[in-house]
């Protein structure tokens, strides 16, 4: 495990509550989704982020609203940490027209262009080239902003991972690659799929400066992410951050987890980022036990309201089936 770097983050009480609150929001949101899925309110695939909250929360702290985020199908946490309205994300889970993507995408395709949140991508490795392209557009148009591309370690086996890292390094593009290494690509442990299991080595082979960090430590993640984002912003080309983390739940809902032992899961649960951080803050005197209760109460209210919103939200009419396949043209004449 990597030692946390010297903190440049000023951990005020307010900031601490913010970090903790976001992680708790994600946790409770995901637990609610699991329940709703069992009740068949959410259908299809559901990939829960439980255990990995520190990654999304820490990394989002390093980004400005002008930066871009490209994520995977396990993106609910990133969406919430990015600031997408909880009710809209929940409505999207339900498939309602009031959802982030009009209900058309569902759990795996949450998009919010106003917050520069580009999904929600279901093909492993498939969004890495998109992130490279967004960064390319920024560089070509002289805009100084970061594209943060978040993916799991499973993507490292895909050709697109290598093509994207190579292109980003070759053209010195402002991409912050964040690899959430939770050690399992669905049911395949990293040792069984990668000849080199150190993700940083992969990045370094393309000449991209890379670091690993304890993904169960939200502050460590935030510190590393901020530093790397600044380096990218300074025009140093891409950076690669590996968050060593663990998902407490299965890959998706329908997964008997035959590929790992319960004992291993229990061992990692002891490092649950939320109680760990809460304890640390209480020990440091930045937080009282009562504060946590207040946060939990707030979060419960927000989620209850989001569920009610989603329940009541309308379905998109079937007559609208064929919309949004092509962009409507306001003029049919060819412009010269």
């Amino acid at each position: 495990m990597t030692k946390p770097h010297t903190s440049k983050v000023h951990l005020s009480s307010r900031h601490a509550i913010e970090l903790l609150g976001q992680m708790i929001l994600i946790r409770r949101f995901e637990e609610t989704c699991a329940e709703l899925y069992g009740a068949e309110k959410i259908r299809g695939f559901l990939h829960l982020y439980i255990g990995e909250e520190a990654n999304a929360v820490g990394v989002m702290q390093a980004l400005t609203p002008d930066d871009a985020v490209v994520a995977t199908y396990r993106e609910h946490g990133h969406a919430l940490a990015r600031g997408l309205p909880v009710r809209e994300v929940m409505a999207e889970m339900y498939g309602k027209a009031s959802g982030s993507s009009r209900g058309r995408g569902g759990s795996m395709h949450i998009f919010d262009v106003n917050r520069r949140f580009y999904g929600g991508n279901a093909i492993v490795g498939g969004a890495l080239p998109l992130a490279v392209g967004l960064a390319l557009a920024d560089k070509m148009q002289g805009r100084n902003r970061v594209t943060c591309c978040i993916f799991g370690e499973g993507a490292a086996a895909e050709g697109e991972f290598h093509e994207s890292l190579n292109l980003a390094a070759l053209w010195k593009l402002p991409v912050l690659f964040v690899c959430e290494n939770n050690r399992y690509a669905m049911g395949t442990a990293i040792e069984r799929s990668e000849s080199v299991i150190d993700m940083c080595v992969h990045a370094q082979s393309y000449g991209i400066p890379a670091e690993a960090v304890d993904g169960m430590d939200v502050v460590a993640v935030e510190v590393a992410a901020r530093r790397m984002a600044e380096e990218v912003r300074a025009g140093g080309g891409p950076r690669f951050l590996e968050d060593k983390t663990y998902r407490f739940r299965a890959h998706s809902m329908f997964d008997p987890e035959l590929y790992r032992s319960k004992a291993e899961v229990e061992e990692w649960k002891k490092r649950d980022p939320i109680p760990r951080f809460a304890r640390w803050l209480q020990d440091a005197g930045l937080l009282h036990e009562a504060d946590v209760a207040v946060v939990e109460k707030d979060v419960a209210r927000v989620i209850e309201e989001a569920v009610a919103f989603a329940e009541a939200a309308p379905w998109e009419p079937v007559e609208d089936l064929l919309r949004d396949v092509y962009t409507p043209r306001t003029d049919t004449a060819v412009r010269r």
């Binding site: 058309r104 093509e163 994207s164 190579n166 060819v334």
Partner: protein, 329 residues
């Protein structure tokens, strides 16, 4: 009436690229060997010198990577023209085209548009054997969310690119490899911005309708010469756009002639000709005086020796035979 001049298809593509780069600074060309090499088919010769490395980007051999990057750049406000050397290599980028370019608008609930243009060479006829001779236009024409073009004339090669660039949705343009040396007429200032939705009647006729696209157009026209000397007057429709298909033009012709022959260089099974035949059956059954005939590639990977390559692909003789068949003459 503008003055006409004669240029080759490849010159038309180059002119169209150059003009697009001049007109709109968001446009850039990206692909393998488009810069220093001047383009695998010499379509971008000289452009690197004129527009520089930022806008004429040589890429590594990473079809998925650079097509996806093009899609991302389009999301980010650019108007990329991505060149995939041939349709044969586009298979490596199908994930990006089908799972990203075609779906982002829909999956995001209408928040995103992907204004990308992807150009690629296609087709057989140069003895390049099985892995370099595909005609897979129908696979792309199958996908909602993208538009597919097949410029068969020099004028269309010149004019379709700008309209495609202005289109807010992904447009895939297929350039048949045997057309690059062909000469044709364009206006003095070029045919900037022709429509990309309508088929064109390249030859009017009364007895039978030949429906075709891309590299098969000239073979179809050659067949009509021979048929005309036998008193059979064919109408030839150049589809120009493969998605969307111009049903109106197809049916207007079939209703007039009562007989249809479709010439498609794809393999027969599951081809674009099968789709067109189905549509004719749906929309003009009671006007047909014969079953719709199809002239397609034989069910074999394209062979290397010339005589076998010819036998495997649509040729004027076979088109003549198919027209005679529907005429029952």
């Amino acid at each position: 009436m503008t003055l006409m001049r004669k240029i080759t298809y490849r010159e038309a593509v180059r002119e169209a690229l150059k003009e697009a780069l001049e007109r709109d600074e968001r446009v850039f060309l990206m692909g393998e060997d488009v810069g220093r090499y001047g383009g695998a088919y010499a379509c971008s010769k000289g452009l690197l010198q004129e527009f520089g490395e930022q806008r004429i980007r040589d890429t590594p051999l990473s079809e998925s990577g650079f097509v996806g990057a093009g899609i991302g750049a389009a999301l980010g406000g650019m108007r990329p023209v991505i060149e995939i050397m041939t349709v044969n290599f586009s298979l490596l980028a199908l994930d990006q085209i089908v799972n990203n370019a075609a779906t982002l608008r829909h999956m995001s609930g209408g928040q995103l548009s992907v204004p990308i243009v992807i150009r690629m060479a296609t087709g057989a006829g140069r003895q390049l054997a099985a892995q370099h001779s595909h005609s897979l236009e129908c696979w792309f024409a199958h996908i909602p969310g993208i538009k597919v073009l097949a410029p068969a004339t020099v004028a269309d090669a010149r004019g379709m690119l700008w309209t495609a660039i202005l289109d807010p949705d992904p447009v895939v343009i297929f350039e048949h490899a045997t057309l690059y040396n062909e000469e044709g007429e364009v206006g003095a200032e070029g045919d900037l911005g022709v429509d990309i939705e309508c088929a064109a009647v390249r030859r009017a006729g009364r007895d039978a309708t030949i429906i075709t696209y891309g590299g098969s157009l000239k073979k179809s026209l050659a067949a009509t010469e021979q048929l005309a000397s036998d008193g059979i007057d064919c109408e030839v429709i150049d589809l120009r756009a493969l998605r969307p298909l111009d049903d109106k033009a197809i049916m207007a012709s079939v209703v007039k002639t009562h007989r249809a022959v479709i010439v498609d260089e794809g393999w027969r099974s599951g081809s674009l000709s099968a789709e067109i035949s189905a549509r004719i059956m749906e929309q003009a059954l009671y006007d047909l005086d014969a079953p719709v005939a199809r002239v397609c590639s034989a069910e074999v990977p394209i062979p290397y020796p010339r005589h076998l390559e010819i036998a495997a692909t649509p040729q004027p003789e076979a088109i003549v035979g198919a027209v005679r068949g529907v005429m029952r003459k």
